[in-house]
Amino acid sequence: MIKINDLHASIDGKEILKGLNLEVKAGEVHAIMGPNGAGKSTLASVLAGREEYEITSGSVDFDGKDLLEMSTEDRAREGLFLAFQYPVEIPGVSNINFLRTALNEIREYKGEEQISAKDFMSMVREKSKIVELDAKLASRSVNEGFSGGEKKRNEIFQMAMLDPKLSILDETDSGLDIDALRIVANGVNTLKSSNNATIVITHYQRLLDYIVPDFVHVLYNGRIVKTGPKELALELEEKGYDWIKAEFA
């Protein structure tokens, strides 16, 4: 699905990713954990194509294509989805209009026909159930006046609608109470298939109780320094990151 090879990236001249390697195969869930400032959100931003970051070396293969050569919107159209840590508000633009525009742009890119209003609406009804999103939220302006939990559920709802190959969940658990966390995690689990993959970026082990990863990676100082099974997350929860810092400083 995605193969990241010796990736170096910097912002404002400061190197954040310092030779990161990661391979995620279809059907897998990978968790990326690490202390503050390790480069977790930078990784998500760089993969999604935020322009502020400069890629200084390395390569990223996304399903046989050179990801770094693609524009931000083409990465999305090829099936890369980022669930934002801080979803953005767009006043006056309804969630439905936003999603329909997105869906049709993706379809056009793939040479498919535009979705009919009827099919689209039944898809909205079906997919909004996955995250127990109130149908009313679908017609409200994108994220405007949504609570923290509603914003995160809306991200997963969008993910369900756009059906990506690779989803990157950037700190999706931050700011969620336990019920919302369960709903969001259930949504992600429902959408999981042998054809897609998920990268879960998180600080805490808590989310991984619900979204069970196949691999846990520890990101520290711009590199993946340790990889293990899901039990590694528990170990990190118990011991903190200091022993990692000590080992790799």
Partner: protein, 502 residues
Amino acid sequence: MQEEHVVAEKVSPYNLKIPMGYTENELAQDLQNQEYKFGFTTNIESDQAPKGLNESIIRFISAKKEEPEWLLEFRLNAFKTWQLMSEPTWAHVHYSKPDFQDIIYYSAPKQKKKYESWDDVEPEMKETMKKLGISMEEQQRLTGTNIAVDFVMDSVSVATSFKEKLAELGIIFCSFSEAVKEYPELVKKYMGTVVPTTDNFYAALNSAVFTDGSFCYIPKGVKCPMELSTYFRINEGGTGQFERTLVVADQGAYVSYLEGCTAPQRDENQLHAAVVELIALDDAEIKYSTVQNWYPGDKDGKGGIFNFVTKRGLCEKNAKISWTQVETGSAVTWKYPSCILKGDHSIGEFYSVAVTNNYQQADTGTKMIHLGKNTKSTIISKGISAGKSHNSYRGLVQIHKNAQNARNFSQCDSLLMSDECGAHTFPYIECKNSSAKIEHEATTSKIGEDQIFYCLQRGISEEKAISLIVNGYCKEVLNQLPMEFAVEAQKLLAISLEGSVG
């Protein structure tokens, strides 16, 4: 009195080739042809007055139009007043003052004979209307369309459609000149009652030299079943356009009126100084919508229309007047559609989107004058500044002594799209009655990198992202427009903001 002054800072790293597209394919087509597409001229012989302005020019115009003596008097009085006035300088705009002696005040497409029917209209003229998207021919044929159009080119009204059908309901919709001839008592009764000749420099000038425009009268209790529309067009070079519109809705009547404007692309600045008067008698309602797309000048600020317009409506008891405007054109705009809420329980509304790009300057807003008890007004103003343009909102809310329980809500938002443009807000509030409730909200925002990135990450292209964001921003105003106009307005927004984020 408050004053806000905001100048844009760095906005977005995205250099967009095509800034925003409406989500329909036809817009994509329009966007490929992004020059000012109404910049052509029509090759029609015209009948002109000599350049300059003096009493004999005014007599010439009046004679040309075969006007009655009282109207000539009206003009000459206005001219005398005008000569004593000087151009207003308080607006936040800078331009070289027009030379009023270098303007042709009367220019009319030369008519071989009077148009008795649509068939008499010259092919060149029909072609012009077609290019402008005014399909009167279609309208003549098709039933079920619901817009009656009056077409005013340079100084005269060329054609008005659906006249007979409207006449059955007693509705008068015709050119101003025709109204002077056919309904002189109505014109005499109402003309100049809302915008007196002494009102301001440009209103006085208009009153002296106006050449045509539209007149509309809706009789008591009649709801006009179709949109009435006037299309204004400046064609000749060196001319000014001075039209007058007078809309009277008698007791309990309703009318929705639309106005559209374009002009050819010329290097010179042309002057457009119009006067619009609306009168809503007891329980009447007038909805007046404008899509203004006068030639804005080129990318370096050369040429373009000076749009100095006085628009005002008077509300009697329980009456309501709504102004909705989408302003994308003109080099300089100076315009404040206003409501005098004279009658108790009357309502005034102002919804505006003003877009400026390149070197355009706009100083626009409204005045809500509360005289009656329980009067209400709403002001929603959305300014969008791009390029090196300056966009100012200037509004006055005035609550008079006897206006018990007056209410006003104002919202003035500015959206900045470049780091060299400016947005300015000048809200004035004068309140002489302590029972009044006045609310004012103002925001200034930059089109957000984060918003654009969010859209891009969902697979939406940059141009569509900006279209979504800008249309979302203007939604409250666009929603006020009649359907046909709303689509046109959205397209205009897209075209006007070409290459504007950066």
